[in-house]
């Protein structure tokens, strides 16, 4: 068991730099999810931890050992691949036992470990004798996990392990992985492009974009206080509405480009009065209001009834940019209707229009 430490980690292929200096400390037993769009470098970062990619600059340590120059097998890690990478010609049992055999463990020890892992993952004897070809997607996924577990490593590395499964199975396996990690308490690094998966699994999330860390934090922290426009747009579903806006001269209102304005917490943004910003409004934070102190009129374009809630797509005033609003329950709404909407002042996010960084008081 050990934590993982990344210090100024850089990856470059020739002159193209793809990871621009990542710092992160992952505590012992922590579940860290690296999330970002495809091509952001998240898999590369994971593979650098695994030892499958050379570290161009910086330092990675697992436990108290710097592992930069260690072979993957010497790093005391286990990895679950997106396509599982099970050896197609070996039985399930041998797939799990292979690494242990190479390490020279005694036959009896190997057997104990494999049986124990099989029990944890509910793989019965019959399954152990089959080859990967004869397994379903979910079973293969379990075997890949089993191969990781038997090694009893300091850390698990997961590279989009659920993306080859269908939606229903993905939810189920997500839960299993979470339980397993909780029970075994092994430090885990998990890469995904799916923000829901990231939110539900991780103790903390690292949002990566273009090889740069946008923010590291607990899921709720990222949701409530996104540090950048990118994080704001990436975390949450449906995505946050991002609207061009301006902070009023008094610093206590935000003026939307449609002409309406909403109230801000008094005094907090006084220093930014008159600044051009991007306003971030989460769909689920809108409510229909009756007073006219802080109101934006939403022209409804399309209404989607989902039963538990209702999605309203529309636009503010003469601003044609579309936005989404989520209202609880079933609502009797029609297209072309105009709704008076508001968001509570403390739930409004403001970002610098140029740097994209969050404005704090």
């Amino acid at each position: 068991m050990a934590g993982i430490n990344l210090r100024g980690v850089v990856k470059a292929y020739g002159k193209t730099q793809v990871i621009h200096g990542v710092d992160c400390t992952i505590a012992d037993g922590e579940f860290l999810v690296i999330v970002g769009p495809s091509g952001c470098g998240k898999s590369t970062l994971l593979r650098m931890i695994a030892g499958l990619e050379i570290i161009t600059d910086g330092e990675i340590s697992i436990g108290d050992r710097v592992v930069n120059d260690l072979e993957p097998a010497e790093r005391d890690i286990a990895m679950v691949f997106q396509n599982y990478a099970l050896y197609p010609h070996m039985t399930v049992y041998n797939n799990m036992a292979y690494g242990l055999k190479i390490r020279g463990l005694a036959k009896a020890d190997i057997d104990t470990r494999v049986r124990k892992a099989a029990e944890i993952l509910a793989l019965d004897d019959d399954l152990l004798r089959r080859t990967p070809r004869q397994l379903s997607g979910g079973q293969r996924q379990r075997v890949a996990m089993g191969r990781a577990i038997v090694r009893q490593p300091s850390a698990f590395l997961f590279d989009e392990p659920l993306s080859n499964l269908d939606a229903k199975l993905r939810v189920q396996m997500r839960l299993e992985i979470k339980k397993l990690q909780q029970n075994l308490g092994i430090t885990s690094v998990y890469v995904t492009h799916d923000q829901v998966e990231a939110m539900t699994l991780g103790h903390r999330l690292m949002v990566l974009n273009g090889g740069v860390v946008e923010q590291i934090g607990a899921p709720i922290e990222l949701y409530e206080h996104p540090a950048t426009l990118f994080v704001a747009g990436f975390i949450g579903s449906p995505a946050m509405n991002l609207l061009p806006a301006r902070i009023g001269d008094g610093g206590d209102r935000v003026e939307l480009s449609g002409g309406d304005s909403l109230a801000l917490p008094p005094g907090r943004f006084a220093a930014h009065a008159g600044q051009t910003v991007t306003a971030g409004l989460r769909p689920e934070h809108f409510e229909i209001v009756t007073d006219d102190q802080s109101v934006a009129r939403l022209a409804v374009d399309v209404v989607e009834q989902l039963g538990a809630d209702t999605l309203v797509h529309g636009h503010f005033g003469n601003d044609r940019g579309s936005l989404t609003v989520r209202l609880n329950g079933t609502q009797n709404l029609q297209a072309r209707q105009v709704l008076p909407m508001s968001v509570r002042p403390e739930l409004i996010h403001l970002f610098d229009a140029d740097s994209g960084r969050r404005l704090e008081s």
Binding site: R47, A50, G51, L52, E71, P72, A73, E74, I77, A78, M79, F81, Q82, N83, Y84, A85, L86, Y87, P88, H89, Y98, G99, I102, R103, R147
Partner: protein, 285 residues
């Protein structure tokens, strides 16, 4: 077939059966010739049904060939088939062995002169024995390999085709498998032995079938480097039996030998048809 006209189907089958018969006819005639005495054979016209001397002809062919009397040494088809078998197995095994490790090096390693090595192997495609007969003979003679199994086999085992085929096979193996093996602590040789080799099993078998036939049927090369009757392969022996100048050739023994020379590769093709077809297709891609 799109049309459903019975007479067309019948006609098609008739054409195909005639085709099959024409293709098989030479073999049948040869078989008939191998079952008669020479006396019956040279009567005109040649008999069209098998005769009664089959056992004795084949026994003579296998054990003694034409015997001392006819000017060639008394080496039977048995010995020559053994020579052919050693050569065929040696060529097939040798080509596969050196090609698969070469392909492994080219696919799974980056090293200086990798492209040079690749092109050197590629060039062998353009240099069949036929275009370098004398100098190659001289090299083998200088190395003292005339009339040896080594001389029959080794000069023929370099193979661009086999190397490229294995390269294709390895390129199709997912990268993650090699990564998983690295994480499991397998070094390159261990990965080769435990993962790549078992995964290439059917490719190896298919290639083996093709190369066995290729090796068994070698003609020019054994003709050049074997002079010792003990080292002659069966395919080149038949011609020697028939080149007897003005004497009457012992056709019945020569034809029995011909049947024996055809038998092993034909059996391989017939019984391992699936592997054979796979091998043919793969080596041409």
């Amino acid at each position: 077939m799109v049309e459903n006209r019975p007479w067309l189907t019948v006609a098609t089958h008739v054409v195909l059966v005639i085709g099959v018969l024409i293709v098989a006819f030479p073999i049948y005639v040869t078989f008939v010739a191998s079952t008669h005495s020479l006396f019956d054979l040279v009567r005109i016209p040649m008999p069209v049904l098998p005769g009664s001397h089959m056992v004795e002809n084949y026994l003579q062919a296998i054990s003694a060939g034409l015997g001392e009397a006819s000017g060639t040494a008394a080496v039977g088809a048995g010995r020559m088939m053994f020579n052919s078998l050693v050569m065929a197995l040696g060529i097939a095994g040798g080509k596969i062995a050196i090609s698969i490790i070469a392909a492994f090096a080219i696919v799974y390693f980056r090293f200086r002169f990798r492209m040079v090595a690749f092109w050197m192997i590629f060039i062998t495609l353009m240099l069949p024995v036929e275009v370098r007969i004398l100098p190659t003979y001289k090299v083998v003679a200088d190395l003292g390999m005339l009339d040896t199994y080594g001389g029959l086999i080794i000069p023929l085992i370099a193979s661009a085709t086999a190397t490229f085929m294995f390269r294709q096979v390895f390129m199709a193996v997912p990268d993650e498998l090699a990564e998983a093996a690295r994480i499991d602590g397998a070094g390159p040789l261990r990965f080769f032995w435990d993962v790549l080799l078992p995964l290439s099993r059917t490719n190896i078998a298919a290639l083996f079938v093709i190369l066995f036939i290729y090796g068994w049927n070698q003609y020019l090369w054994p003709l050049l480097i074997t002079t010792d009757p003990e080292m002659v392969t069966i395919v080149i022996s038949i011609n020697r039996m028939l080149s007897v100048g003005d004497d009457q050739a012992e056709w019945q023994i020569a034809m029995a030998t011909t049947m024996l020379a055809m038998l092993p590769p034909v059996l391989v093709v017939v019984f391992m048809q699936r592997l054979f077809v796979k091998g043919l297709v793969e080596t041409e891609k």
